[in-house]
């Protein structure tokens, strides 16, 4: 016994880590496979005179990593561990693969959009502009008006519905509203646009109707279910003790809701509403149908065509003049503006949620 322990081993073998890959091995292998593939691609690019393709490098390198780690783990650790490692690496690969389009998209939008992201872009419309110059003022005005109107319709309806579902709703009506709100979240946006068109062209008997208010109706159809769902979730987590304390003081139910329940959850409600606005502000298809496109600024929701920022991007891309580049530049600048607005709204929502969330003293 003692002979065994005394025998001086060249390296201490830990029975717990024996027969296992070291903890840094997967990361080293991931970087290694990326490096190897990158070298191969660089050589290929140099020999054929082509461009070095970073996306293909990342994708192929990640695939190679999945195979290498499976084989190595199988040799060192056995089949069960090898399978485990394979799945771990695949799961990591899925995440990396999903990041590639996001990064590529943000990168292209920022680099291409910067060309026309200037003062002219925000101070002029496309009226009488052919070729270079011009801007998206009319589209930004339209987007703000249409989205604002949609919010004005959706927020009261969505809030009251959520209050009904949480505070009053029992039985068949409440259950069917919950169910159909869920179904409504799945309505394709273009169908909402077609509905607004069908509705107003029948009511106003104008077979070619285009106006901003119709766009607001279509957007609120998409926005209401989002507002209802997020508000409902927030109202549900308001502690019942608060309501009961209020009832015990003799406060009527509606005042309890207005003065106790809503102030407690106002941060969450605001977050949900902001996210809902961020969702509909980028909608293109319904506005293409019912609001149409125009080159001039239109401040009236109820009269004639109205441009919006997403439709502006689409229109600049789809109907360029004889020189394409200025139109494309405007499209990219519009896309950059749109992304910035959406990201800002998202950031705002998270900030509101963080700063104004109620602090329960427990």
């Amino acid at each position: 016994m003692s002979a065994v322990t005394v025998r001086d081993a060249p390296s201490t073998v830990n029975s717990l880590t024996n027969g296992r890959l070291p903890i840094w091995a997967p990361w080293a292998m991931l970087l290694g496979s990326w490096a190897v593939i990158a070298v191969i691609f660089a050589l290929l690019a140099a020999s054929t005179g082509g461009e070095f393709n970073i996306v293909a490098t990342l994708v192929l390198g990640t695939m190679v990593f999945d195979i290498v780690i499976f084989v190595l783990a199988y040799l060192v650790e056995g089949i069960r561990q090898a399978k485990n490692r394979l799945v771990t690496s695949l799961v990591l690969s899925a995440f990396i693969v999903a990041l590639i389009p996001l990064i590529s998209l943000l990168f292209t939008v920022v680099t291409n959009g910067a060309a026309r992201f200037d003062v002219t872009f925000f101070t002029t419309s496309m009226r009488n502009v052919v070729g270079e110059g011009g801007g998206a003022l009319h589209a930004i005005v339209g987007t703000l008006l249409i989205t604002g109107m949609a919010a004005l319709i959706s927020i009261p309806v969505g809030l009251l519905t959520a209050i009904y579902l949480v505070e009053y709703g029992r039985g068949l009506l409440a259950r069917s509203i919950t169910f159909f709100v869920d179904v409504m979240t799945g309505i394709p946006s273009i169908v909402a646009g077609l509905f607004a068109f069908a509705f107003f062209s029948l009511i106003l008997s104008d077979p070619g109707i285009r106006f901003g208010f119709g766009g607001a109706i279509a957007l609120s159809l998409l926005m209401i279910p989002v507002v209802v769902r997020s508000t409902e979730e927030i109202l549900k987590i308001v502690p019942n003790e608060l309501r009961e304390a209020s009832y015990a003081l003799g406060v009527p139910k509606w005042l309890t809701i207005v003065k106790i329940v809503i102030p407690t959850s106002i941060a969450g409600i605001t977050t949900g509403v902001t996210l809902a606005i961020a969702r509909v502000i980028g909608e293109t298809a319904p506005l293409l149908i019912i609001a149409g496109f125009t080159a001039s600024t239109n401040y009236s929701l109820f009269d004639s065509r109205m441009m919006s920022l997403p439709v502006f991007v689409y229109n600049q891309y789809a109907n360029p003049g004889s020189t394409v580049q200025p139109y494309l530049d405007r499209a990219w600048a519009g896309a950059l503006t749109l992304i910035l607005i959406v990201m800002l709204l998202n950031l705002l929502a998270r900030l509101i949620a963080r700063m104004f969330s109620p602090k329960f003293g427990r």
Partner: protein
Amino acid sequence: MTTTAAPGRAKTRPADRIFAGSTIVAGSLILVALAAVAVFLIVESIPALLADPAQFKGSPSSFWAYVGPLAFGTVWAAFLALIIALPISIGIALFISHYAPRRIAQGLGYIIDLLAAVPSVVFGLWGIKVLAPAVTPLYGWLVDNLGWFPLFAPPVSGTGRTILTVAIVLAVMIIPIITAVTREVFIQTPTLHEEAALALGATRWEMIQMAVIPFGRPGMISAAMLGLGRALGETMVVAMVLSPAAVISFVLTSSQNPSTIAGNIALNFPEATGVGVNALIATGLILFLITLVINLIARVVINSRSAFSGAN
């Protein structure tokens, strides 16, 4: 209303009734709106069904011959997108719920949610200007080497504006929604099940196979259906990226692609007149019905889930 209220019952005030009434009105308004969508689409579709089909774009033999290729393209593109997106989304959901360190998991979730925040028209622009040129050489290689395989039959598209490119962009767009739903379900897996599996000596993957996947299966199915519903109705990417033709074809890499209902509406509606408008609205009605059925099934599956496990 009696002035002598029964003992123990609160007095109903007018304000209470007004407030409760207005919430009921708002709730019912949603049901009315959904019904109105169906009614008005049907009313506006009827002229298209009665009209002479020669007036439609491309002069098809009947309305159904007009819708057929579009409906096929819609389902085919959405199906391809789902095939691509589902494994990736489940991988990401597992990564966030069970693999990533707890501290950074939420941040990773936000990053994936960022994808959902990008407007579809920007995805369209990216698809046509970045992705399509990037995949064109790959398609050339596929057709040259795998041209015997029916999905990659020659001739190859020279622009990359094929249904496969559309499906890739659609997949990127539906990844966030599928990930969000499956992540929620995976997180709800009873910890006791997971710990029991690990205590019996299971590796992490075996634990996921035994505890997480069976628990999350209904959630995964309904997430897939929700993603499918989103892909079916997506408009701008198809309108901007695809080079359409009125064909029914499974080939992924050709320049003759079946268009989708939504893409076709977006491309043709601005110039449509007369019965052409009604025809487009009728195709929209069909799209509405397809997505409605898919979403109904998904919701029924989700709602049936809460009852079945006694462990949570």
